[in-house]
Symmetry: none
Subunit: 205 residues, 4 copies
DNA sequence: GATGAATGAGGGTTCATTCAT
DNA sequence: TATGAATGAACCCTCATTCAT
């Protein structure tokens, strides 16, 4: 075994560990409200050690944000583009709800950044917008082909984002209203089914 | 004119002004990330003067939260209860989207609090849950009467919340994707129409 | 009745009331540690009203100190000077212990000022020293006359002050060690008797 | 030389240095009146550095108090218990007066705490009381054995405390009355002799 | 004479970061 | 690479006092 590889790997793992701790802290308290001490605590290291691995809090924030965007894009890379609306949307919604339920911190940190006006996210938005516009075009095609009713293709996408991200952002509220314990798992399948049905039926020609 | 009334009014206005400044700051930075200095700056007063009017940052936060909950409840008091699903839902959605678009800070602060686990909101939730359960019962009635399709009445409500609040929470993203300027007004009527249609059609029996 | 007299009297009473509140607060927290808010609270008035009646915290402190010195001097004015040591000392000790037990705050505030180096008491000390030296001379006379043993007349006075003031300064400790409740009265007569006996026997030729 | 030892030692010394500065400040101004800025100034460090070494002002106060209690107990550990009253008392008084004269700040801080009702000292008092009661029993034995006159054993102890602590608490007054400069040393031997004589003679059967 | 509002200075404490080793 | 020590800026808040009526 090459010990240098092990070391590098270990360091990489620690970096990932730090990033996850940071995402959790940023999700809960935002950039300003997050403290490097809290991040260090979550990561189980000292504050000094944390600062040895990062350049600054803002930099760690940016990194974490980039990481989330990366996951996001990756997540929808694998969906076949030539499916009809029904298959595509149910696929997309299911996957996104699954991610929201299992990675709420990522979604919350992302939303938090947008709520602040997204000053550190704007660099990613150009690409994001391009693919959103492409998706809009495809939706228009569906409309033209009579596969779905007349609909605003941009607002439709926003609405789907709203529906799927809600179960990450507002999970505590959802749990409380359902009478679930704070750590109880949400019924991913049921939620995905309800949302999918709402959207698909809502789009029927 | 009675000067005493003027004074009291002025004070009341200042208090409201402070609360609005606080909501804006809390919406952007959360409880921890908000600084009393920033709130004072937004309100156009000195930090000392701010602290003359409030007991503590946490207290101001709680007050602001209570205020938002108050508005919220008031907002839906006036909706006639005996309307059918179509009228009721379009009424409700329209009103809520209007509020979201015109008072995004209130919605964001609220969401922020929930993302943190809602430690300071829990006191309000008991009442909130009761009315949510009542609404669920009404929805079940609509289902029984065949007015809408079979649907989970709790998830339906969550979905409507998601759709309506999204245009407050994610307004910067929405604007960017639509190619609008940062301060451009969102087309309230169109958004309400699209969301209403999605929901009403999505619920057709 | 002359209402103007009543008013003046009322004001005078309030001033006394404030002074007593101040002494209590200064006794417990010293000049720096005392807050005008706390003094106002003890006096049952608002802070603004307090500041209407005083010039400054330091001034109130000085006034209170002067008042205590005045009481002090008055207290020993009435003791006949031509008594022998036995009568004089028992008289003096009894009176001083009585004052200490019934007015601990005054004694504590005084002691507090001395512990700080007595910066605001020095003006009174010239007179104080003169009478202490006079008393020392009288004690020397008693020694010369063979009424008491050879003793340092200054240290004797310090020792008597120590013994008598202790029951004001350290009352909480005394009470605790005796197993008394925090508000239980100290047995003035017994304490005076013990101290007197210690001193008188301790001075026997 | 081991540099690690040096460092640890240095740190320990700084901690001691801070504690001494704190005792001096607390002695003069009490807990409320003492400022961390003033303590830092006395210790010759910045306020931030001070706060790096302490948890809070209150904690530093408690620590300092504990330290004093520790010294106190240590101070009287070495006195042989089987001495007769004369030897024991002269030993005890001499030692306590010596401490009072050389460590007035410690005694003053202690007294200050008691004057405030000893809220942070009460934990130590249980043990203190036990040993005071034991000492009282020994005094009773002396009385029974006819070695000293009938005396209240608790009040006797209070009186000795009063006499010995006075030269710490009221040193400025003592100095002024004796015509000494503010920093002039007190004549430890003479004071101890006078107090010892007063007590021993005052207890003669 | 009396009082709610206002304020500059300072209170104790935490912050993200850098230093020194 | 790693870490305890250190630090200037900023944090929330209270202070004694003055203002304005």
């Amino acid at each position: 075994m090459n010990p240098r590889v092990d070391l590098a790997q270990k360091r990489g793992e620690l970096r990932d560990h730090i990033r996850d701790a940071a995402i959790a802290e940023f999700a809960e308290n935002g950039l300003r409200g997050a403290s490097t001490q809290a991040i260090a605590d979550r990561a189980g290291i000292t504050k000094t050690k944390l600062h040895y691995y990062i350049d600054s809090k803002e930099d760690l924030y940016q990194q974490s944000l980039d990481h989330i965007v990366g996951i996001w894009e990756e997540l929808f890379d694998g969906i076949p583009l030539d499916l009809g609306p029904e298959a595509f949307l149910s696929f997309y919604i299911t996957r996104k709800i699954s991610f929201s339920i299992h990675h709420p911190a990522e979604v919350r940190m992302f939303a938090n950044e947008i709520m602040r006006g997204a000053p550190m996210l704007r660099s990613h938005w150009a690409g994001s917008r391009a693919s959103t516009l492409r998706a809009a075009a495809r939706i228009e095609d569906w409309v033209s082909a009579g596969l779905i009713r007349q609909v605003d293709p941009m607002l439709l996408q926003f609405n789907i984002w709203a529906l799927t991200e809600h179960y990450a952002l507002m999970a505590p509220e959802v749990r409380y209203m359902l009478g679930l314990a704070e750590d109880a798992p949400l019924d991913e399948a049921k939620i995905a089914a309800e949302v999918t049905m709402l959207v698909l039926r809502g789009l029927k020609p």
